[in-house]
């Protein structure tokens, strides 16, 4: 995974609450077996609406999404994160996120910057007052620079550390290989196994 320290890019105000992952990418777009190419499905139901924010020339190159509350709720599909990334988004700012979406983002390298809804409102206003304006998101200092203002955001320390260093999660876990093996040795015999397969008649 690439390291993430700071990113400067176009901020896109998405004034919608409860944007679940079915809205981010509908199920019919989930059929690829790769991690790329999902940008076509991003916000598919809204992409044809002339007043949809990403159809405004000023925002089409957006890379920082300012989302409404409860963004990324619903389905566990990581395709939602890939679709945002495939489109070009590096950061999503918002006040509340679905748990699985937040976890998926951390794994895939999409920065989830959490701020109060009050700050979201201010960021929306800034991004709309000057469409196409660039924000700078600094993960080292956990700040968002927008116009002349600096806002702080929250992100858990562990995810931040991993993103800053570009660390592979599986590699990190495998450092505990011995502990995993020791744990496995103590598991009771009555716990279920799927193999050999047993089926009813």
């Amino acid at each position: 995974m690439d390291k993430f320290t700071t990113h400067t890019g176009t901020a896109v105000p998405l004034r919608e609450s409860n944007v679940d992952t079915d809205q981010i990418i509908p199920a019919v777009y989930l059929k690829r077996v790769t991690r790329s190419g999902f940008e076509d499905g991003l916000f598919a139901a809204w992409r044809n609406a002339p007043d949809f924010v990403l159809n405004n020339q000023a925002y089409t190159k957006g890379s920082i999404l300012i989302a409404g509350p409860d963004f990324g709720t619903g389905s566990s599909r990581e395709h939602a994160v890939w679709a945002l990334q495939n489109y070009g988004f590096k950061v999503v700012i918002g006040s509340r996120f679905g748990d699985i979406f937040r976890g998926n983002s951390g794994k895939a390298g999409l920065v989830i910057a959490e701020v109060s809804q009050d700050v979201v409102d201010q960021l929306w206003a800034i991004a709309e007052s000057e469409p196409g304006i660039a924000f700078t998101v600094d993960l080292r200092h956990k700040t968002i620079e927008a116009q002349d203002e600096v806002f702080e955001f929250a992100i858990d320390d562990y995810t931040r550390h991993r993103l800053l260093e570009g660390l592979d999660d599986i590699g990190l876990t495998l450092r505990h290989e011995e502990a995993i093996t020791a744990f496995e040795a103590k598991r009771p015999s009555f716990l279920p196994k799927t193999l050999p397969a047993r089926v009813a008649d």
Binding site: S17, N18, D20, D22, Q23, P26, A27, V28, L30, K31, R32, V33, T34, R35, A45, G68, P69, D70, T73, G74, S75, S76, R77, E78, H79, V81, R96, G98, D99, I100, F101, G103, N104, K107, A108, D156, D157, Y158, D169, I170, L172, T173, L174, H176, A179, I180, F183, E184, P188, S189, F190, L191, P192, K193, T194, L195, A197, R198, V199, A200
Partner: protein, 465 residues
């Protein structure tokens, strides 16, 4: 201080803990399906890794599979690619798979319990948010993304930050005609779709302890619809009776050891939850949704709400948008809303009890001419069981379509979809915009409401017949 049920299960699975880091949890069972796994297996291959414990992994085909002509090649080339990819991955990595046509194929959250693989006290994951279903057995079960699927395949563990705990206590008995689905829809309307965010929820109280395993699964299934990390119910005699004799349930001395352990899995009387919610079961009634998230629901006897009734501006805007999408006018009685399609199925309400309940209402009636009703059993075994009871006949005699098992119209990835503007009464779990097909409009309902609605052509309860 005592421990909650989820504390007990969590703590017994910590492989490694360090300050400032998430706990590394051991995962007892991972379930896999075709949509969220291809990139995970591909990641393993790229990194030269294998599946650490294939015998703790189970795969099935469900999300994408057709519910008609299942022995013909899958017509949609992209669906076919995903299913073929899963089969190839299962073969390459030594993972057990129940493919389309196999008698244990079905929706991933239906086959785990049915095989007796879902058991109390386990940690279970799947690349699917409704993994919370398995919490009905007192397992800690939650949905994960594809990178996490890969992580579990490679290491059989997952780093997880510990959520807070919440109790939902449901006192009193459910009135006649009110089902667990109504209960959970009413709960979500009360707490909001974000109400459970950051929590593992334990459902308790008389209404829960008297409930069948099927009902408990319906409740836990929808935990994710109000944002909870997981939903759990303490195992009891009803749980043990359900499991006894299932193919993968422990046997002999192992059964006794398991029951002894399972019997310790309850919340200690002096344990404290971080949050509590109370619900009076006796005050509940059949519940249906009017909007585009599962929290936008009202009793069937109510009317479509007016956005101006919502004081919070975000909720008001959401309601306005939902009414526009749903093509509804504030003040319309819910009972006057006509539907085109009724969908009975999904991991929420596609079990045998659900089919029996719906059939008992449809028996001797006809599905309205204006309505198409799809009955999709949650698994191939549920289908066989239903047929042995003659339920298929009840459905087809009434004019409903009797299909093969799978997710089907719950998410509309296969050909079972709503057309733009079509309206459904659906026993599934999500009424999101476009969930059942682009432009489709979904009302979430219980199986009895689905059956009554099919007969009258408008949202209805059996009492209206």
């Amino acid at each position: 201080m005592g421990k909650t049920l989820s504390d007990k299960v969590w703590e017994s699975h910590v492989v490694h803990a360090a300050p400032g880091e998430p706990d590394l949890l051991y995962i007892d069972i991972q379930l896999v399906h075709e949509v969220t796994s291809p990139q995970a297996f591909d990641g393993l291959r790229l990194a030269g890794r294998g599946v650490r414990r294939p015998e703790l992994t189970l795969a099935t085909e469900d999300h994408n599979t057709p519910t008609e002509n299942i022995f013909a090649p899958i017509a949609d080339p992209v669906s076919k690619l995903q299913v073929d990819t899963l089969r190839a991955n299962a073969a390459e990595f030594g993972v057990r798979i129940h493919s389309l046509g196999d008698k244990d194929q079905g929706v991933v959250h239906i086959i785990g319990p049915q095989l007796g693989i879902t058991q109390p006290g386990l940690t279970m994951v799947c690349g699917d948010s409704h993994t919370s279903t398995h919490g009905a057995f007192g397992a800690l079960a939650f949905g994960i993304g594809t990178s996490e699927v890969e992580h579990v395949l490679a290491t059989q563990t997952l780093p997880q930050s510990r959520p807070k705990t919440m109790a939902v206590t449901v006192t009193g008995d459910l009135p006649d005609g009110v089902t667990p689905k109504d209960l959970v829809l009413a709960l979500i309307a009360k707490v909001g779709t974000g109400g459970g965010q950051g929590y593992i929820v334990e459902y308790r109280g008389d209404a829960i302890s008297k409930m069948s395993m099927e009902g408990r699964m319906t409740i836990c299934n929808m935990s994710i619809e109000w944002g909870a990390k997981a939903g759990m119910i303490a195992p009891d005699q009803i749980t043990f009776d359900y499991l006894k004799g299932r193919p993968h349930a422990p046997e002999g001395a192992d059964w006794d050891a398991a029951v002894a352990y399972w019997s310790t899995l309850y919340t200690d009387p002096d344990a404290v939850f971080d949050a509590e919610v109370h619900l009076d079961a006796t005050a509940l009634a059949p519940f249906v949704t009017w909007g585009t998230n599962p929290g936008q629901g009202v009793p069937l006897s109510a009317t479509v709400p007016n956005p101006s009734d919502f004081h919070n501006p975000v909720d008001r805007a959401a309601a306005e948008k939902a009414l526009a999408y749903m093509g509804l006018t504030a003040g319309t009685p819910m009972r006057e809303i006509p539907v085109d399609t009724v969908f009975l199925g999904s991991c929420t309400n596609g079990r045998i009890e659900d089919l029996r309940l719906a059939a008992s209402i449809l028996k001797g009636h006809k599905v309205a001419d204006s309505v198409r009703m799809l009955v999709v059993p949650g698994s191939a075994r549920v289908r066989v069981q239903a047929m042995s009871e003659g339920l298929d006949k009840v459905f087809t005699d009434a004019g409903a379509e009797w299909r093969e098992a799978g997710c089907s119209m719950c998410l509309g990835m296969n050909p079972d979809q709503l057309k733009p503007g079509e309206r459904s009464a659906s026993t599934s779990n999500r009424n999101f915009e476009g969930r059942q097909g682009k432009g489709g409009r979904t009302h979430l309902v219980s199986p009895p409401v689905a059956a009554a609605t099919a007969i009258t052509g408008r949202l209805a309860a059996p009492a209206d017949l």
